[in-house]
């Protein structure tokens, strides 16, 4: 019976191709919009999530900010509120094994290295031992700094393979530079450092202008940076939670601890903040999903409008075929069969429209994702949802006209002019 009804529906749709297509258009546009938006939304969420995970799920960023940015804050206040080494030391003692490292960096001015007429830009960054873990720096040659480097502030450096390539060309073997001294020009001073390690530079996205314009980090021990800049305080540090520790919970504990420990320094003008990447990922995914949902809702309105179009056409189609309905009834068609025939027709119109919409939506979504620079991420659930939803629209908006057809009095239908 289902098969027969589908056949009948297809005959009737074929007989009015243009009309059926125009009816479908509403569904096509609605489904296409929902699928495209969901594809873009999912791709963005997945990419951002991956990116944040790349920064370390266990990382907790701790910072001190003014409560009110507009408030009158003196230079002395700023000096007072910063995170000091002894506070960080106490922090690591307090939380012990829950923390696998504290990373601070002291960003200096951009420096340049000149060799045989070539100039390469670098960021000189003073780092604590926890930095490499927090930022997932991968050493490929040599070693990290030792205790001695950190405590004495030796002029040692870890440089990137990219930097070596920029300065010496692709042929040069990076390990040949281990133990060698390089001279970095920072501001008006020169910093001479001995290379102890080489890390692999991970390129993020595409960079305009090619290799030449990439600025990589040259890491030196934190103490060395302080010696150079005479600055020992930070606005911000990264705490790496030990494996198995809930970073979101720990970030709250750290925030409470530091707020208490630094109460005198903070005064009523500053506050300690702490957030984990974990909670940021969750927050971000939630926001993105909400946004996708909100936009999809608007697209769903298009679907409903499309559904009303289907209802309209079904009503017209049934009025047009009143005599046919009368004949079918005279031939002994039960009401249920008449109803099924027209509901099948509505469902098939919606389903065809839905499938076209899905295909167009996937194309549109993937093109958009491509141009926005994300990795395409197709949501299978949204496809099932769209198919189901367009069928439901067919049933919902086909029901009332079909019911009307089924309830026609056979003789009135036969006599209809």
């Amino acid at each position: 019976m289902i098969k027969e009804n589908c056949k009948l529906a297809i005959i009737s749709i074929k007989a009015n191709k243009m009309r059926a297509f125009l009816t479908m258009l509403g569904i096509i546009i609605g489904v296409c919009a929902v699928i495209a938006i969901m594809t873009v939304g999912n791709s963005m969420t997945a990419d951002v999530k991956k990116q944040l995970e790349g920064y370390g799920v266990q990382n907790i960023t701790v910072y001190v900010n003014p409560i009110d940015w507009e408030a009158d804050i003196t230079e002395a206040d700023y000096q007072n509120m910063r995170l000091r080494p002894e506070v960080l030391h106490k922090l690591s003692e307090k939380f012990g094994k829950k923390i696998s490292g504290i990373s601070v960096e002291s960003q200096m001015e951009t420096g340049t290295v000149v060799k045989e007429g070539k100039t390469v830009n670098v960021n000189v960054t003073g780092t604590s031992a926890g930095y490499y873990k927090a930022n997932k720096v991968k050493l490929i040659n040599g070693n990290s700094f030792n205790e001695f480097d950190y405590s004495m502030g030796n002029n040692t450096a870890i440089i990137s393979d990219k930097f070596i390539e920029q300065l010496y060309g692709k042929e040069f073997k990076p390990e040949n530079l281990l133990g060698k001294e390089i001279e970095i020009n920072v501001g008006e001073q020169y910093l001479n450092v001995t290379v102890v390690g080489i890390y692999h530079y991970e390129q993020e996205g595409s960079v305009r202008g090619g290799n030449k314009n990439i600025t990589t980090n040259v890491y030196i021990p934190l103490k060395s940076a302080w010696n150079f800049t005479h600055m020992e305080e930070f606005f911000e540090c990264t705490v790496v939670a030990a494996e198995g520790v809930n970073a979101a919970e720990l970030s709250e504990q750290i925030k409470d601890y530091l707020t208490e420990a630094m109460a005198n320094n903070l005064g009523d003008k500053f506050m300690v903040g702490a957030y984990s990447n974990q909670s940021m990922i969750e927050e971000n995914t939630k926001t993105m999903n909400q946004m996708t949902m909100a936009i999809s809702m608007i697209a769903a309105i298009a679907l409903i409008v499309g559904g009303i179009g289907v209802m309209n056409i079904m009503t017209v189609s049934i009025t047009e075929r009143t005599r046919e309905i009368g004949t079918r009834k005279a031939l002994g068609a039960p009401d249920s069969m008449i109803m099924l025939q027209f509901i099948s027709e509505a469902i098939i119109i919606c389903l065809i429209g839905g499938i076209i919409g899905i295909v167009l939506g996937l194309i549109l979504g993937n093109v958009a994702v491509h141009f926005m620079g994300y990795t395409p991420h197709i949501s299978i659930a949204s496809i099932y949802l769209s198919v189901g939803f367009s069928m439901a629209i067919g049933v919902f908006f086909g029901y009332s006209p079909a019911k009307h057809a089924a309830n026609m009095n056979p003789i009135d239908a036969l006599r209809y002019e």
Binding site: T327, K329, M337, L414
Partner: protein, 255 residues
């Protein structure tokens, strides 16, 4: 399968009943009114009494507005009488629930309309299959039966043509094949030649005669033409909603 069994059973029963020559259709004091309960209530049929036996070929003749079409609609269970009793093949239609009516029409009655009423955009064979489909008969059996019927009415060659590719006479022949699909007890033909020229009209009438004589079908022909009515063995004349005369035609089969 069950449907098929039922079908076979009705056919069997029918053969038995042909032998007993019993009453197939019994109408008692059938009245039909429109706008019931309103001041302009209009009574079309004023109490029709009618018996039709199995295997009869009856014509109901009358002017337009005489109520003959209204009577046919009631006999065909397309419409319900306002009062009176109608028994078809032992089933009291006046007491049958609405839901049962479609099945009664499907199994017991074959309609032939003046305007053919074939389903548009659907080929001849699918049109003939339609009553079989509603009877729940399998696709294979439907097809075989439809081909058999179309060949019987001489439309074997044009089975896959849609109604708009057929002439009036051809359409009416397809319609007759369709009316015969479920081997109904009775064929109700409402002005079947009304839209045809005399030559094709003759052809259609010959098919009715053949169905009556060779297959023993019960046929009720509704017409305004005394000439056509004269061909049938029994003639019932209806005027202003009353049966005014009934006669047995001695010149049976003379055409």
């Amino acid at each position: 399968m069950v449907a098929l069994m039922q079908c076979l059973m009705t056919w069997e029963q029918m053969e038995v009943s042909i032998l007993s020559n019993d009453i197939l259709l019994q109408a008692r004091d059938i009245k039909k009114s429109y706008y019931v309960g309103t001041p302009n209530e209009l009574e079309i049929l004023h109490g029709i009494d009618l018996d039709i036996r199995r295997g009869e070929f009856v014509s109901i003749v009358g002017q337009s507005g005489s109520g003959k079409s209204t009577l046919m609609n009631i006999l065909g269970i397309l419409d319900r009488q306002t009062s009176g009793k109608y028994i078809l093949d032992g089933v009291d239609i006046s007491k049958a629930p609405n839901k049962a009516l479609s099945s009664l029409r499907n199994k017991h009655i074959g309609f032939v309309f003046q305007t053919y009423n074939l389903i548009a955009r659907t080929d001849a064979i699918a049109n003939v299959e339609m009553p079989l489909l509603y009877a729940g008969i399998s696709e294979k059996k439907r097809r075989a039966r439809a081909i058999e019927l179309l060949e019987m009415v001489g439309m074997g060659e044009r089975m896959h043509h849609t109604p708009d590719e057929l002439s009036g006479g051809q359409k009416q022949r397809v319609a007759i094949a369709r009316a015969m699909a479920n081997n109904p007890d009775i064929i109700l033909a409402d002005e079947p030649t009304g839209a045809l020229d005399s030559k094709t009209g003759r052809l259609v009438m010959d098919i009715f005669h053949e169905l009556h004589e060779k297959q023993g079908k019960t046929i009720v022909l509704i017409t305004h033409s005394n000439e056509l009515a004269a061909e049938t063995p029994r003639i019932i004349t209806i005027s202003d909603g009353n049966i005014i005369s009934e006669k047995i035609n001695d010149k049976e089969g003379v055409a």
